[in-house]
């Protein structure tokens, strides 16, 4: 007969497994349909609704948890991006990985927009924004990004180009495979100091590989 401590440990392991199954199911269900119900998510996770509500008091709390996890995972991937060297090359790499993250968690974010407050959304965006800000500041200090417009405006422009690409894909006016290059090419040009030549994204990528 197992000790009380052993039972407690087994219960905790069960709970962790359930939470993971619920979050995985929520990610799948909400990506497919931002309006997916708690019942559907519980069914997909193979747990009862009572169990689900034991871990997440409301649908909003569950959406918050799954979006937070997705953003943290995306953020971990972005942490692996090499932001050293020429700030323009680094920007292209950052855009490529950011776009991958957006594609992976895009539908989840749609669900989040409905369920989470604007303030919470801003909180969740803070780290990715800080990373872009840091890179923009470095590029300005090194003279490869323009300083005649504010860093805030440049970072906001990058942000809007990404959202714009998502909207253009949605409208069938941009091929998904071209999105990252289009965003990077536009941002790089927009960031170039007046009087300096606009870099070619292809040329940057080639230089990076060689």
């Amino acid at each position: 007969m197992p000790s009380h401590g052993g039972q407690r440990q087994a219960k905790r392991a069960d709970a962790r497994r359930n939470v993971r199954a619920i979050l995985d199911a929520a990610a799948v269900c909400l990506s497919r349909d931002p309006d997916a119900s708690v019942a559907e998510i519980a069914r997909t996770a193979g747990v009862g609704r009572v169990t689900l509500y034991g871990h997440f008091a409301s649908r909003a709390e569950l959406v918050d948890a799954v979006v937070t996890r997705a953003i943290e995972e995306g953020d971990a991937a972005l942490d692996q991006v090499d932001l050293s060297g020429d700030a323009r090359d680094a920007l292209v790499r950052l855009v490529e990985q950011s776009w991958l993250t957006i594609v992976q968690i895009g539908s989840l974010v749609t669900a989040a927009f409905d369920a989470l407050s604007e303030e919470r959304m801003r909180e969740l965006h803070a780290r990715p924004m800080q990373r872009a800000e840091g890179l923009v500041e470095r590029g300005r200090a090194e003279g490869v990004f323009r300083t005649d417009l504010s860093a805030t405006w440049l970072v906001g422009t990058l942000h809007r180009l990404m959202h714009g690409a998502a909207a253009e894909i949605e409208a069938g006016r941009l091929a998904p495979a071209e999105a990252a290059t289009t965003i990077a090419a536009t941002a790089l040009a927009a960031f170039t100091p007046p009087g300096r030549p606009v870099p070619e994204v292809g040329a940057l990528a080639t230089r990076e590989r060689s």
Copy 2:
């Protein structure tokens, strides 16, 4: 004693005056408060609600009429912009006048977003968008705007930069007086073909004046 024809004419003149007063009042009230009520608009116009509803069957119809008039007026101002000569100079002039129009009718558009369908909004945006498209196409044909990204993407980027500037002003991160130059500088850089130098908006304006 006036003839029946004379009475009819006087009545028609009255009706025209009332419609103009109602549209002017609606523009003022809705700019101040996008949720302004029909009663408030009638009061400001100095007409009764019955008279107002005699001309506009619903609040949505009134909002449609006042936004349509504002966009047509803005469009008439944009028609006066000289789009000839170097497409880059023309883009700066177009951005400056477009921004003026956006500032003038911006709050009205907020009211419109609530009251009008997305399709109707797209319809009302069609002419300003066509003008920008024509200019972008000419700049591409003449080699001063890039052709490695689609014209649709470039026009959409210009559109998003304008909306972005409005959002940044709203958030207190951009001075209203700097908006037009910021938008024009960013769009010009974004439109520059890779390998070509980014033009200075100031230099363009100087060249234009000299």
